[in-house]
Symmetry: C2
Subunit: 199 residues, 2 copies
């Protein structure tokens, strides 16, 4: 290689640590930083520090926030008796975009995956139980991803929560709206048939 | 949207400024920063500042370096009478990988593009002329990209430098080694025919 520039290499490695950033993209981004003005580079560095400092988990629902409570938990119009349990903060954004759900959330920050050493105590399950314990909760909608781990987590939560006298529901499975049946996998089609409804 | 977290948005915008990073990737990276430890985040921020501070252009060839001169210009084994002119620093790395070129480089940091307001004085042309002026240079290999702007820049340089009594050459055009002719475009094939050689 022509020139091994240590500080460029180090910066590239930092980018490479981020989720979904490969080695080539990381290097391209590091080069790109060199094209920023000194001021822009400083602002970038500060934005990293600031985001880390200001953003924390909402103590109620475990979603990310830079205030005391997140905007959903602080909103008096949201129904506290209905909690939608999701795997991560991105799922909250996806569901909020629908502008249909009027309950509150609970972010697990992961799914149970014994293979990867993620047991229920590694995700925010006890925080969910604590909320149920307060007595206001009537229904838990489990909205974990339709993956093996997501399913297992949903099952685990259902078995844990139902005995507490709280209704536990699951997002409907089926073919995605607008998609061609040709491209739907067999399991999805099976679930769509199983869950068919009358016209 | 669920939650507009100002510091997360700001960080995402900083990532978005980097070359080849779209809005969604930028947001994913910003989320990813939140998953770093405080120490990692600080190191990331410092790496940005350090790269900007330490890395500058080699005063001779305009390549990036964190030392006084770049590793090519400082190497006594390189032939100073042969300069390969490239558009950007990535081209230097590409050519060095071949381990064949024994001359030195000159990085233009751009190509002439009147449409985008890039005139010859906006790229490192006068620095190249200054090097030629010192009298040691015998040949300039123009290795700008085979694009319209790259071609125009090569043509411009050739017209400018030939009268100074310096040989000006161009990288060969042709079909890429290992590629199927079926996928070669017409212009490349035309150039490959035009530049055909005896067995």
């Amino acid at each position: 290689m022509a020139e091994y520039i240590e500080s460029l290499q180090r910066l590239s490695e930092k980018f490479g640590v981020l989720q979904g950033v490969g080695r080539k993209s990381a290097m391209r981004m590091a080069y790109s930083v060199l094209e920023l003005s000194d001021e822009e580079a400083h602002e970038f560095a500060e934005a990293i520090i600031e985001a880390k400092q200001k953003i924390h988990l909402c103590p109620i629902c475990q979603n990310l926030t830079d205030r005391e409570l997140c905007s959903v938990c602080v909103n008096p119009q949201r129904d506290r008796s209905l909690i939608c349990v999701v795997e991560d903060v991105k799922a909250v954004l996806s569901i909020e975009k629908v502008r249909e759900f009027r309950g509150v959330y609970h972010v697990l920050h992961g799914v149970i995956s014994p293979v990867n050493g993620i047991t229920p105590d590694k995700i925010k399950v006890k925080e969910l139980l604590a909320r149920i314990d307060e007595g206001e909760v009537k229904e838990i909608v489990v909205a974990t991803n339709p993956t093996v781990e997501g399913e297992a987590t949903a099952m685990y939560l259902s078995k844990l929560i139902k005995p507490l006298g709280v209704k536990v529901t699951r997002l409907a499975y089926g073919v995605p709206v607008g998609a061609d049946l040709e491209y739907a996998d067999e399991v999805t089609l099976y679930r769509a048939l199983e869950g068919r409804s009358d016209f």
